[in-house]
């Protein structure tokens, strides 16, 4: 079946430092990868949508300078949170889409900032 591994599950970083999270699709080739942040109110904020060999599309309020994404092949994507501050805390989710247009989520990376 289709699985998406996301790691780390939890991370704590000092204010002003950066952290990287990774996402791996297993059992299928991801046609695109979307990175989300789940707010304290539990809504999904789309950060960016990445398709291999195409430009990464960032949503309003999110920039490549703050959340650089690498998507080198169909099964792997990574995102870095640069200069993390308190407002960057939350659960970050990667979602990989298969050829049937279904989105599968990784387990999420919970970011805490001290």
């Amino acid at each position: 079946g289709a699985l998406v591994y996301q790691y780390p599950r939890r991370t704590i970083c000092k204010s002003g430092t950066s952290m990287r999270m990774e996402c791996q699709a297993v059992g299928f080739q991801a046609t695109s990868v979307a990175w989300y942040r789940q707010s304290p109110q539990k809504t999904f904020e789309l950060i960016a949508l990445s398709t291999v060999n195409s430009a990464i599309k960032y949503e309003q309020n999110f920039t490549q300078e703050k959340f650089p994404i690498s998507h080198p092949n169909l099964s792997f994507s990574s995102m870095t949170v640069l200069n993390a501050y308190l407002e960057d805390r939350g659960l970050y989710l990667c979602g990989a889409r298969d050829s049937q247009n279904t989105l599968y989520f990784g387990a999420g990376t919970r970011l805490s900032v001290l």
Partner: protein, 113 residues
């Protein structure tokens, strides 16, 4: 633009009663509709996906029917179980080049004995 509206906030049901969570959508093109379920401290998991041939998807006792005339994809179950307590999200996938996913704000379902 495309959007999804679902029953918001908290829904509390007694075990054994039917479940109905509403979802309506706006889309320029014929979209795919999905329901995701997220249990406490877990990631969202796919529960149901609409079919293009008007079949009714079912999983774990849940079902939903895509009604294009009313732009709806309500989630239903005949008898709620305690283990159904979770967050439920309705989502829409458009068919533009970027194939964006749009999520509703989520419905928190609590099933009580």
């Amino acid at each position: 633009g495309d959007s999804v509206t679902q029953t918001e906030g908290l829904v509390t049901l007694t075990e054994g009663l039917p479940v109905m969570l509403n979802c309506t959508y706006q889309s320029t093109y014929s979209p795919f509709l999905f329901w995701y379920v997220q249990h406490l401290n877990e990631a969202p998991k796919l529960l149901l996906k609409s079919f293009t041939d008007n079949k009714r998807p079912e999983h774990q006792g849940f079902h939903a029917t895509l009604h294009k005339s009313s732009s709806s994809f309500h989630l239903q179950k005949s008898s709620a179980q305690l283990s159904d307590s979770a967050l439920y999200y309705c989502a829409l996938s458009d068919q533009t080049g970027y194939q964006n996913f749009y999520f509703g704000k989520g419905t928190s379902l609590t099933v009580i004995p």
